[in-house]
Structure formats: structure tokens, C-alpha cells
Symmetry: C2
Subunit: 673 residues, 2 copies
């Protein structure tokens, strides 16, 4: 069907969709930067979705029971900005659209969560949206099971492009969603056959429908420029039969642009004045840039308001709740910190001081979770197929799957990246605090989504065990050496490396109290003694660094260490003190938290004129500021740690061979004194 | 068929396979660590492969035209160690097997390339092997096309498990191999239905055969414990019909272990003495641990020797080559540095000084490659669907695909991780120097394979463009801030951030001269002026840091900068010098290379008593050693850069808003003076 025939076939739909297209063209042109082709190609699908299917109320962007809409192909950001503007989201003024991609505008190049209401998650790095949406859909199933469909009953709609589907993370999402039977998850594939380099066939010949079907998805197709056909497909997709749904929407990128449509040239740059004029003509669209005729604007606003009734009915149901269930539901969707967290941690710390357990911090972490989880129904755990190694599952947790939506533990499979993205989605949906485990070394696999946790400010918890050469025989492929540096280098990320069960409990208290920062718990495989002698006091881990063992006199030496190396520092201190050298041990569970302390406190912990040694079985890079800065001195400091990759051997051998021992510390101190 | 029936059905095969199984059990038991279940499950398949199909000669592990064998399920390392030992690889003595996972042994926990002949690539991080093998198979096609099947004519065989197939990187590999039509790539799937957490169905319900078929693979199945059926499937798989092949081998993990077979308990820990005794009985195997009866040992050695004839015939064909083709083939498979590299770079530098181009370093990189590629047929380029942005394709390069195996440019698709792993595979195969591009920010996606480049010591080149907030409007999802720190934190990785076309040419010269270190070229999106005034001299980039602009007198101030910020430092110097402050500018294209210089040189470049400011549009972490150490002082140094994520706006606005300007540098200097 040619463009004129389409225009005439459904003039009302055509006008609505054209409004999206012209706004996308105009905004990209004004910014002289951006991606017009995708919004132009998917405007028909998005129009049908928002008009006939998506449950939302533009006047209440954060209504909990709204359908979630995820633009996984985030470069098409003008699609969602146009939709938010047209349907009447208050924030999304025409001024914002005009300022697309400019400093201070909420209309960032790619949609950013937290900058703009109606954007459910940050997208742009391809594949993240589809993988995050899996977490949203799992959270929806879990909340529905827990609180009933009266309070939670919605779908997750995703628009994804070929780029999303080629990224490996998409397979992790597809596999996980299929296994979990997420029947309310619907992915609309912008099947336009174009990538930046040209035709998809340059790099892929995958039959996506067959691929998704192979992982247990229901697959549908439609003509992505035929409103009736789109509506048919979405209607069918919305029937939950226990399988997630892929809808192939056959579209033309840059639809209607005479010389650029159906070509990579429509993808990532402005069309130019001439092409825009010609395209507008093809659309039958008059007027100046950014102008939307009032009748079309009114129709769009009506679409934005149509969910108000459903929202009010939902509000009434919430208002009708009584007592505990109302309070709990409000707390949960408000993401409030659980009031039982602090007392539970305090009690556990006291018990720990009494029991003096010598356990790996991964086991200590399990001990903490065993205490917390029964009190914290919002904790939603999981592991990327290392449950017994990460110690992430507690005895009270059932398995979350299609048969048991009340389970609170997810077998994510061997999918670190998909897990991290799903955790982001679980938090974004609301109702839960997700945590998930893998080996510290495999933060490498999850990096893309971990960065988005930080960028979006989502307080998810990464339980990263086997955090050094201390994992031993598995060897350098599994031994992190640069990963603490990587986590510490990432903005808005709390890296916590506790040294014993008390610090582990404190680290969990910190992580589960965060409101806008993800945490990485770096935990040992090997057993560690209890080093904290007092458990009743404040959360010392929250200071980032503190004096764990005081020197017998004014400290000539300060030994700094984290996690499994604090034990080594304590042993070195013994030897130094016996040799008459007053030596302080400072435990540094979190550099980020220490940096946030007052300069006075930092100076108190790290006095200026002492010798400083840092001990960590990892590379030195993040330690330089504490060794050389904060009034440390190059000629009076040194580092005991790793300078390269590890090796395969039992852990005690590795520590000895790589020279991370009390003896090595003592030797370096003596060389400096 | 029960185990007795299988044993009787083919007693000779049974003995050969049992030898693998008992060695795996015994070695894991002796180490008290390791993974016995996978080698026990895949011993039958491996035996048939090595006995009847794999082209190799144990006496010549590095014979170029051998089939490549990749154990993607690297935790089953005892499978390959047993095979290497039994077939007579000299290095793999019984002593090494006995010392499995011990310090100094070549039998590391996971197979490590470079530690042991016969291990074609390091595996262990799941999915890497299958993705690396795609590169090997592409390199084989390319070498065969270039030098003919007389010199290059072999297959790539991979053993992969469910873990490999669940990892996202596997989809990137599957999609790329399917699109490329790699008919000599054969993946043997250890279809044992078990992951660490339990049955595969806990987390996946993917029909793998359908999934692979959807991406253009040929799919076969066999009973993985029936030698005849395995042989049938492998024979069929070895027929190249232009599609890569997946063979589902239905196996039982821990095959034969009475209480642990077909369970996650067979996966990752020693079986224990009792279970081993019972298993040996089931196998009909007598003798003490590690003992192989001489008849079986002899049969295995014969298998190891059967390829000698083919190898000698190949040697004769190579010897028969004459003149240039012989020299070129030898140079190429020897991975020698191209003798034309240095003169080509020298000429380009001289031209650059004359022409004074103001170009983005990504464009400068293209200019360099345009000069080099016609002289360097070993250069094998590509991009993860950002060809026009990464500027990675030169005009002489054809597209490498199923129709044109002489093309030297790969459209990798939107698959950063798969690209990086394939680059590793291309290098490992031999004959080529791969380089590949994406945005610097998406090193995140490629991290897993980039770490293996470093760990294996493969001099591949990552062309990472759009390396800072300088990319502008795409916003924080696309703006690296921590990624330079990440690359610099990774052992054995050269991070090169050139400031203009001269440094870019020098960086390429360095990268293409490496023998055992990968390089990351961090390149700007935005145009940069030519700052180097002299092009005839030595490669100054190779010093890591050098004086780019000398101070008018003894330097009171030293400004250090990299890449696009060197221009800012130079402008700040102008202002400071005009104000009477003698100011030196030090360009720091590579911290790793600077660290490798003599202390004298470093002191010369960074004098002790001057004020130091570093300027880089990224986080500070890697700069502390140059600001605070090497006799720098906290009270006389400062940093101008990023402290968090970027934002979406035009680049000049971002530099101004984030305070990375000459004025900000001058202000900080004045505050310190």
C-alpha cells in the first residue's frame, strides 16, 4: 500500500501518528542531532498502543498500576518524548521538545529515568531495555501474587529494534522470560531491516520469530503501518497465555521520507530542511515546525486522559484497604526502608560477637540474609547459577517461577548481564529490593547493566563472592584483580568489602538502606576470623574506614586493608608491635563512604606523619589517594597487593607466592621506617 | 542402554574413553578441587572426535593447518589435559596431571592459552570459547581464500555446555557465525541437562536446536555415549555445506558415577574415594590412581600420531613454495610485525606536519589505516555496526562474508562482546592482526573478552571512538567517564589516547608492533588541532608521556593531559605564560608506557617542585600516582575532569558546564601557586 492509500484508509489514525513523526523530525532538525528514522517508522505502532492498549493516565505518571512502556531502542527517544508531550504529561512541554538534546532539558539524547516522568528506565545501550523489562514483568507477577489483581494487574510493553535483538543480553532476557512464563511481557519488534551499517543481512540472518519461539515465546506479526492490523496483533498479544509475546512489526525506517526512508541514512542524523518539507507533504501536514493542529492535539490529550477512570477505581481500592495490608502496600510501593532492618542487624551483631564465627564473608552474608529475609518480604534474591557458592538463598525463600509467584528467589541461569538488568527492572517496577549473586570476576559480564544501576540511581545489591585470588584453584579467569578498581571508578556505586561477619552485617544494613545508589558486596570464598570485638555500637562500616586495632602509642605505622586482607594487616600489626613499633590497623570496607566523611575524621583515622601500607589482593590504582594523598607521602608509603593476573593453586599458596602476607607487610614497613 | 551394555558394545572405544574418565576423577580427587562431571560426560564424544575426526599431530602442537579444538566449557579442563596427555603432547606429562591445579603446573583450573601447548584459547568464563571459535573459523576461511587449501584447510571444533549457551555472548557468536556461513565451525553441545543450581529447566526451556537453526545453523543430534552414533553425527557435521553446525550430544554428567551421575553434585567437586571406587568398578577399570594400562596408552599414542603424515605432506607443500609467497606465508603465520609499518608511519607523520589537519582522532585513525592497510594484508578490520562512526573501514578493504573471503572488513553487527571474542580468535588462529571498533562506552559490553585478550596476551587492537563527554548530545549512556580507568586498571592492556593525528599514527605504530599486549585506542568524536610541530623524530607516544610544550623558563607549572584535553592544556599554558608563569605541557598518551620508562626520564618530564594539574574528561582515579606520587605533592596538585556521569548537550556546552576549560585550569593553577 502506498503512503496515500494508507493516509486515506484511516485518516484519524494517520493524523495522530503524523503528529509524532513531525515532532521527531522537527526536534532532531532543531538539535541538529538525533535519530528521526525510528520514531517515524514506529509511530503507527506506538499510536495504536497508546490509543487502544496501554493502561496509563498522563496526569499521574507514577500511578503504580500503570502498564510499563519501555523504549528499548532508546535512540528513538523522540518517539517517547512526542508521546509524553502529546498525551499531556505535564513536564513534557513543547519547550522541552524544542530543546531536545540541549543542556538542562529533560529531553536527553537517550531517555533517562529520573529526568523525566513517563520514562520507565534509561535506555540507549542496546538490549538493556528488553532485559530490564523482564525484571519489571517478574515484579508485576510477584506483586500480583502477593497483593492480588485488585492492586497489581498490568502489562509491560517494550519496543525493541534489531540492535537490541543482536546484543547478547537479549538472549539472556529471552531465555529468562521464556523460562519464567511472563505472559504479560510483550515485545514489539521494530522490524525495519536496517542497522547503522546498512541492511540487517550484512551481519545477521536470524529468523527472530523462530528464535523467540525456541525459548517458549508466543510470536505474532503485523504490518507496522496498518493501524487495524497492528490493533489485531496487540489485542492478541495482550491475552496472557503464560508465554511472553514477540510481535514482529514490519516497518519502514524513516517512513515517508522520500529519499531516506528504508535506508540507514534515515537512522542517526537530521533529515535536512528539504527532506522534511517533502516528507511533510507526503504526510499531508501543513504548518510550521513544532506546530500541532488543535484538533489533533485534543485527540491526543483525550488518549492521555482515558486511563483516569481506571486509576481512580484503583485508588479507591487502595483506600479501601485496612490496617496492616494498607500500610504494607504503601511501604512497599513507596520503596521505604524496612523499619525492622536496623534492629535485626543490631541483634545479629551482638550474637556474632558472642559466637565469634570464623566464616567466609559469603557465608556471613548468608547468615545475615537468613535473619533479614523473614522480616523483609521485599527482598527478592537470586543468583546467576551459583546459588550454593554465592550463598544467596535463604531457607525461607521459595523459588519464584511460573508455578509459584510467591517465591522470592530467582534462578537466573548463567546470565549475569540479564540478571543485573532484571534487578534494575525489579526495582524500577516497585515493591521489591532485588539482590543477586555471581563471582566478583563476572561483574565483567554484567558491567553494562551495573553501570545503568549507577546512572539511574537504583539501590540494587550485587552479591559478588570469590572476590580475589583467595578463590584459589579456579585460576586467573575467575580471580578478580582489577574489579574492585572498576567498581570504585564507577560513579554512584558503593563498593563494600567487609572483613568479617560484623562488617558483613553492617554492609548489608548500608546496602538495604540506600535510596539511590547500588551496592557491590565483595565477599570472600575463604574463611575469615571475627576481627571486630564489639558489636553493640554504631555501624562503623558506614564510616568507610575506621580504626580497627589501635596502636600501643602514637602510631608510627598505619596499615590499611579491606576484606580478607584485614586479617593479614592485624597479624602484621602483632609482629610490629612486638618489635616495638606502634601500629594501627584501619579497616577500609568502603572508600566511597570514607571519602564522604569530614576531613577531620579522615585525618583522625589517617594521621599525617605515620608510615602507611595498604593491603588488598587486587591492583593498587584506587589506593593511591590514601597512600600518597590525604597528606600521605610517597617515601613513607607502600602497597601490598597484586600487580598482574593471578594463578591456579590453593589460596594459601597464592597469597604466599604473590607476597600478600604479614611477613611481606612487616618487611615493607621496616624498609620505610 | 545401561552401562554394561555400552561397555560390551564397543570395548575398544570404552577403554579409550574410560582412560579420560579415570584421569579426570583422579586428578580432581588429588587436587581436592575441580570439575569431574563434564569430562566424564563428554569423554565418549571427545574420544570419537580425536580418534576419527580431529586433524592434529601431538608431536607438533603448533602445526598451522591443524584442526582447532576449543573447550568452551573450560571448567572441564581435565578433559583436554587428559586428551593431551594420552595422545602424547610432550609437555603434558603424567606429573602435570598429578599436579592439577597446583602452583607452577601447566594444568591450571581452567585451560590457559600460552601455559600449555594444545590449548587453543583460554576458557572458563562461559561462552568465551564458542565466541572465540567464530574468529578462528573466519580466519581459516580468510587464509584459505588467500593462500589456497593446500596451505590452509582445517576445521574448528568446539565443546560447549549449557552454561556457554545461556550466556548472551553465545547469541552474538551464533548470529555472527550463521551470517558468515562458517561451514567449518562445528559446536558439540554437551547436552546433559544440568547446571550448577540443578536441572536446566530451573532457568531455561530453550530448544537449542531450533534456536541455532533460526540463525542459519545446521543442527544434528546424537547419543553422546554411543560411539557409532557420535561418529555418524561428526561425519555428517564435517561436511561443509556453508552453514555452521551444532551437534546436540545427549550425555549424562558424571557418567558412571553411581550416586552422582546426572546431578549437579557431579559438576564441581571431587567425587570422593568411595564414589571413585564404585565408578571404576562400573567402568571395569582396575589399577591404582593415575595408572593407564599400557595397551590403552599405546592406542591413545597412536591416535596422537595419526596426523603426522598429513602434517609432513603440508610441510612439503610449504617447502615447495617459492620466493615472495613463501616469505609472506611464513611472515603471516609467524605473526611477525610488518616491515612496512615503520616507514609508512614515518612518511605519514611528515605529511601530517605539512598538512596540519584539524580532524577528530577517529578520523586521524582512518587516515592512518588508509595508508597502512594496502601495505598490511594481515590487518583484519571491523566494527560492531558503527563503521561510519568508528572510521574503521578503508577504501581498499572489501567486505568479508560468505561470498567474498578475500574481504578484510567484517560487519560484526551490534555485537561488541562477540566482536572482541572473535578478534581474539582471529589472532589465535594466526595469519591476521584484527582490529575492531565501537564506542568507548561500550567497552562495558566487551569487557569479558577484552580481559581475555589481556590475560592471553593477544595484541588485538580495540578502536574505541567517542571517548568522552566530547561525543555530546547522545548523553551519559554513551559518554565514558570511568572507562579509561577501567582499561588502565586491567593488567597487560595498553591504553592509548592520542591528541592529534601524529600521536594517532604513533599509537597505531605501537599497537601494530605489539606481540603480547592488546591495545585500546581511545579516540575523539570531535575535531582536534594538530599539536605536534615535528614529525620526523622518534615515536614520542611510545614514551607514554613527553614534553609537548616547554615552559619559557624552569617550569613552575606542569600541565598533564591526554587526547582531546591536550588542546585545553595548551591553551591554558598560553594564558599562564602570558601571565608570566613558566608552564610546561606534558602529553600523556599512555600511562602504561610512561610507567615503563626509566625513573630518570620520568623525573625529567615531571620535575619535583612544580605545580601539577592533570586534565582529562574522565574520573581522577588513575591520575593520583602522577599527581600525588612520583614526588608530586597533594598541596601542589589538582585535577580538572569529571566527578560523575555526563549529560546530553552539545560538546562545547558540556566542557563548559563540567568545568573542563583552559580558564578552569588557569584558575586551579593560580589557587595553588
Amino acid at each position: 500500500m502506498d503512503i496515500d492509500a494508507r493516509r486515506k484508509a484511516d485518516p484519524e489514525h494517520w493524523k495522530l501518528a503524523s503528529a509524532i513523526r513531525v515532532l521527531a523530525m522537527d526536534a532532531v532538525e532543531a538539535a541538529n542531532s538525533g535519530h528521526p528514522g525510528m520514531p517515524m517508522g514506529m509511530a503507527d505502532v506506538a499510536t495504536v498502543l497508546f490509543r487502544n492498549h496501554l493502561k496509563f493516565d498522563a496526569s499521574a505518571p507514577n500511578w503504580f498500576d500503570r502498564d510499563r512502556f519501555v523504549l528499548s531502542a532508546g535512540h528513538g527517544s523522540m518517539l517517547i518524548y512526542a508521546l509524553l508531550h502529546l498525551t499531556g504529561y505535564e513536564q513534557m512541554s513543547l519547550e522541552q521538545i524544542r530543546n531536545f538534546r540541549q543542556w538542562g532539558a529533560i529531553t536527553a539524547g537517550h531517555p533517562e529515568y529520573g529526568h523525566v516522568e513517563g520514562v520507565e528506565t534509561t535506555t540507549g545501550p542496546l538490549g538493556q531495555g528488553i532485559a530490564t523489562s523482564v525484571g519489571m514483568a517478574m515484579a508485576e507477577e510477584a506483586m500480583r501474587a502477593e497483593f492480588g489483581p485488585e492492586l497489581c494487574d498490568h502489562r509491560t510493553w517494550v519496543i525493541a529494534g534489531d540492535g537490541c535483538l543482536m546484543e547478547g543480553i537479549s538472549q539472556e532476557a529471552v531465555g529468562l522470560a521464556g523460562a519464567q512464563g511472563l505472559g504479560r511481557l510483550i515485545v514489539l519488534w521494530d522490524n525495519n531491516d536496517i542497522t547503522i551499517d546498512g541492511r540487517v543481512s550484512l551481519s545477521d540472518r536470524t529468523d527472530q520469530l523462530a528464535r523467540f519461539a525456541a525459548s517458549g515465546w508466543r510470536v505474532l506479526s503485523c504490518d507496522g503501518h496498518d493501524a487495524a492490523d497492528i490493533d489485531r496483533a496487540l489485542t492478541e498479544a495482550a491475552q496472557d497465555d503464560g508465554r511472553p509475546v514477540l510481535v514482529s512489526c514490519k516497518t519502514i525506517i524513516g517512513f515517508g521520507a522520500p529519499t531516506r526512508a528504508d535506508s540507514a541514512k534515515a537512522h542517526g542524523s537530521p533529515l535536512g530542511a528539504d527532506e522534511i518539507a517533502a516528507t511533510r507533504k507526503a504526510y499531508g501536514w501543513d504548518g510550521v515546525a513544532f506546530e500541532i493542529p488543535e484538533d489533533i492535539a485534543a485527540d491526543w490529550r483525550a488518549i492521555g486522559a482515558k486511563g483516569a477512570g481506571a486509576r481512580k477505581a484503583w485508588n479507591a481500592r487502595v483506600d479501601a484497604l485496612t490496617g496492616d495490608s494498607r500500610a504494607e502496600f504503601s511501604r512497599r510501593i513507596g520503596d521505604d526502608v524496612n523499619p525492622q532492618l536496623a534492629p535485626a542487624i543490631a541483634a545479629l551483631k551482638q550474637q556474632t560477637v558472642d559466637a565469634k564465627p570464623k566464616v567466609a564473608t559469603r557465608k556471613a552474608s548468608e547468615n545475615v540474609l537468613e535473619v533479614l529475609n523473614p522480616h523483609m518480604p521485599e527482598n527478592f534474591g537470586g543468583s546467576a547459577d551459583l546459588t550454593g557458592s554465592n550463598n544467596t538463598k535463604t531457607s525461607d525463600q521459595g523459588i519464584f517461577n511460573a508455578e509459584n509467584r510467591l517465591g522470592r528467589y530467582i534462578h537466573y541461569g548463567i546470565r549475569e548481564h540479564g540478571m543485573a538488568a532484571a534487578m534494575n527492572g525489579i526495582w524500577l517496577h516497585g515493591g521489591f529490593r532485588p539482590y543477586g549473586g555471581t563471582f566478583m570476576c563476572f561483574t565483567d559480564y554484567a558491567r553494562g547493566a551495573m553501570r545503568l544501576s549507577a546512572l539511574m540511581g537504583l539501590p540494587v545489591v550485587y552479591v559478588m563472592t570469590h572476590d580475589s585470588i583467595g578463590l584459589g584453584e579456579d585460576g586467573p579467569t575467575h580471580q578478580p584483580v582489577e574489579h574492585l578498581a572498576i567498581c570504585r571508578a564507577t560513579p554512584n556505586t558503593l563498593t563494600l568489602r567487609p572483613c568479617d561477619q560484623i562488617e558483613t552485617a553492617e554492609a548489608w544494613e548500608i546496602a538495604l538502606s540506600q535510596k539511590s545508589t547500588p551496592s557491590v558486596l565483595a565477599l570472600s570464598r575463604q574463611n575469615l576470623p571475627l576481627l571486630r570485638e564489639e558489636g553493640s555500637g554504631e555501624n562503623l562500616t558506614a564510616k568507610g574506614a575506621y580504626v580497627l586495632r589501635e596502636a600501643s602509642a602514637a602510631p608510627a605505622v598505619v596499615l590499611m586493608a579491606t576484606g580478607s586482607e584485614v586479617e593479614i594487616a592485624v597479624a602484621a600489626r602483632e609482629a610490629l608491635e612486638q618489635g616495638g613499633t606502634p601500629t594501627r590497623v584501619v579497616s577500609v570496607p568502603s572508600m566511597e563512604l570514607f571519602r564522604a566523611q569530614s576531613a577531620d575524621y579522615r585525618r583522625e583515622v589517617l594521621p599525617e606523619n605515620s608510615v602507611r601500607i595498604a593491603v588488598e589482593a587486587a591492583i593498587r590504582q584506587p589506593w593511591d589517594w590514601l597512600l600518597l594523598g590525604e597528606r600521605g607521602r610517597e617515601e613513607k608509603s607502600d602497597f601490598v597487593g597484586m600487580t598482574g593476573f593471578g594463578a591456579s593453586a590453593p589460596a594459601p599458596t597464592l597469597y604466599k607466592e604473590f607476597g600478600i602476607t604479614p611477613e611481606a607487610v612487616v618487611e615493607k614497613v621496616r624498609a620505610l621506617l
